[in-house]
Symmetry: C2
Subunit: 384 residues, 2 copies
């Protein structure tokens, strides 16, 4: 089965491309390499020394005999996208290819506009290319749990049945996203839902939680296959960032009280979730939504777990409660459902001491590459 991974040079995309290749799919990577470029422009870098995509793919072939086709270009360029898909002829399209950082989208007006235009137009182009040439293909699209915000009721998977004034309907779950990036994912979800309805396309929106970890079975095979690991204030996410901070003796940066509760998952589960979604495609005309996380944690709890794990290997780990640069509740109800992927067979890697140990050791190994100037958050959600 032919699967194209858009954004296959990124953190989730690279791990997924290799996993799918290892599982026997015929994999292509389409990527504009923009994450590497944005890193350069912001002066940040992954903790890990990632190889150029061409060398990564070559090494993968040397190690496994499996080839991955590479298409370097931008999906907001419709003629490039259309030609690439016609050449590759995908049966499933996995779409990670978006600007995925909330702080990046909040830097200023230009970054907000860029994020929304880039993400919305890229996804619209994919939908039109599917309509024209691949109406039977299955779109597996990365959404985010952040589309829901933090409502005071349970979060369902994409839809909610509402009884109101004696009548009942199942409607898209209300969205309260918390950044211009998260908003772009909400826009995408609405656009994809509509395209499925009018053109009979099939799509799965994976509302993913915060991903942690770095090694997968495949990326761990060889240092040339190593995945990126972001720790900076713009692209770094909670648990990964905390482990790197612990390794270099920097206080863990908790925003506000740390009562923000979110869904989390191990990157080894991300790659399995994509595989599960592909193996169980959405029906024709259906816009299906899975909540893709395995556990709920508060930021405070995670910081304390990293502190404890760090202390166990002799690190001195402090926790700093920074003024929250974001506008969000730091204490709230949060109960999100995640049974759909479990029902399809996902066997989660729950967060464990051994994972934290391994991540801390990994961070220790590369800590010489850390630029301490990049750790603190510099982007504010506030007007003044």
């Amino acid at each position: 089965m032919k699967v194209i991974v858009i954004g296959g040079d990124g953190y989730c995309g690279w791990a997924t491309a290799l996993h799918l290749s290892n599982q026997g799919y015929d994999v292509g990577i389409l990527d504009n390499l923009s994450r590497r470029y944005w890193d350069s422009k912001l002066g940040v870098d992954t903790l890990t020394p990632i190889a150029p995509i061409q060398k990564r793919i070559k090494r993968w072939q040397e190690l496994t005999g499996k080839t991955i086709d590479l298409f370097v270009g931008d999906i907001t360029d419709y003629s490039f996208l259309s030609q690439t898909l016609r050449q590759f002829e995908p049966e499933a399209i996995v779409h990670f290819g978006e600007q995925r950082s909330a702080p990046y989208s909040m830097i200023d007006r230009e970054h907000a506009v860029f994020t929304q235009v880039n993400n919305v137009v890229g996804t619209l182009n994919i939908l039109y290319a599917m309509k024209e040439d691949f109406p039977e293909a299955h779109l597996v699209k990365l959404g985010t749990m952040g589309e829901y915000g933090t409502p005071n009721i349970d979060i369902e998977e994409g839809y909610i049945t509402i009884e109101h004034n004696g009548r009942k309907d199942t409607l898209p779950y209300p969205k309260q996203p918390g950044s211009f990036y998260h908003l772009s994912k909400v826009h995408d979800s609405h656009n994809i839902h509509f395209a499925c309805k009018i053109w009979g396309l099939r799509a799965t929106d994976l509302n993913q939680g915060v991903v942690y970890g770095v090694l997968t079975e495949e990326t761990g095979m060889d240092e040339m296959l190593i995945n990126r690991l972001d720790y900076d204030g713009v692209f770094g996410t909670a648990l990964n960032r905390f482990c790197i901070q612990a390794a270099i003796g920097h206080p863990l940066t908790v925003y506000g009280k740390g009562g923000q509760t979110r869904g989390f998952l191990d990157i080894r589960d991300t790659v399995r979730c994509i595989d599960i979604a592909i193996k169980n495609p959405a029906e024709e005309g259906k816009f299906r939504v899975f909540n893709q996380f395995t556990e709920l944690f508060s930021i405070k709890d995670l910081a304390e777990m990293v502190q404890k794990a760090g202390q166990a290997i002799g690190l001195k780990v402090e926790i700093d409660n920074l003024d929250n640069p974001r506008v969000e509740l730091d204490e709230h109800y949060f109960n999100a459902k995640n049974t759909k992927l479990l029902d399809l067979g996902l066997q989660p890697h729950y967060l464990s001491d051994s994972l934290l140990d391994s991540l801390l050791n990994f961070a220790e190994k590369y800590k010489g590459r850390v630029d301490k100037e990049q750790i603190l958050p510099t982007v504010s959600w506030h007007r003044k």
Copy 2:
């Protein structure tokens, strides 16, 4: 009070700008005149011979002594927008300045992408300009009843209180828009809601129904002030289009069974609703939503009303049930609330025989300008 009307050269915008000027507001019009340009490109034209915006404004001043400032430019050009607002210093910003046709957005990929980028970026730019320079100003933004789609439960005004698994919250009403244009309005609503929340801006989203009629107290003063009246398959909307079809002896074009029920309002109420919203601004940080329509009608009912009114003045009026070019239910539950504007004092002009008479006579007067080739819908929502 200084009010800038973005899109003040359009159908609703022009009528509103004059009404606000007549009410004593200090009015500016910001418009890129793109509707006139799109008409040229599509080869369509308003039934009525509209004067250039500069002449319209000059005539208004001659008749009333009231001046309206004119700023010709595009709000997707941030430096133009920002400079214009700094020069005019608005206390309220009325935003009609978007691509507003569902069929236009469905012509092809380019028109879908254009509609979403144009509308979303324009609104984002307004939000950033307000954040930078006019955080106290009140944004009065035109949304659409089409954001809600046709759910099987009552439609509330922007928000719905949901009880779920023993808990309760009031959340944004779920959106099921039916075109890439309607989707752009949903994207706008989410973006504006977020900006109000994080920056403390104040905004009113007016989810307007289908507007009919052409004369207002102000635009009827002089032929040089005449408003546009669209009858073509791309920009023409249900009731106005039917009256023009009746006047020229063309069958009324009902899509499918005509059981589609929508909210409608007289353009004389549109201009009053804007005035009411401005006079009663949203609180700081609040994203307020009003459903702006006065009556619900099915398309079939409207066609029959026009048929009857036409026959009463001696016209022979047939009704044609065309294959529906859109993907939408043509029989469905529809019950939308509209009490918020009524509570603030709106006194509706309900659809009456005399309005239909006047609209039919108006259409008769200009029927020599009709291009019959432009009447039938040519844009399809369907894949094949």
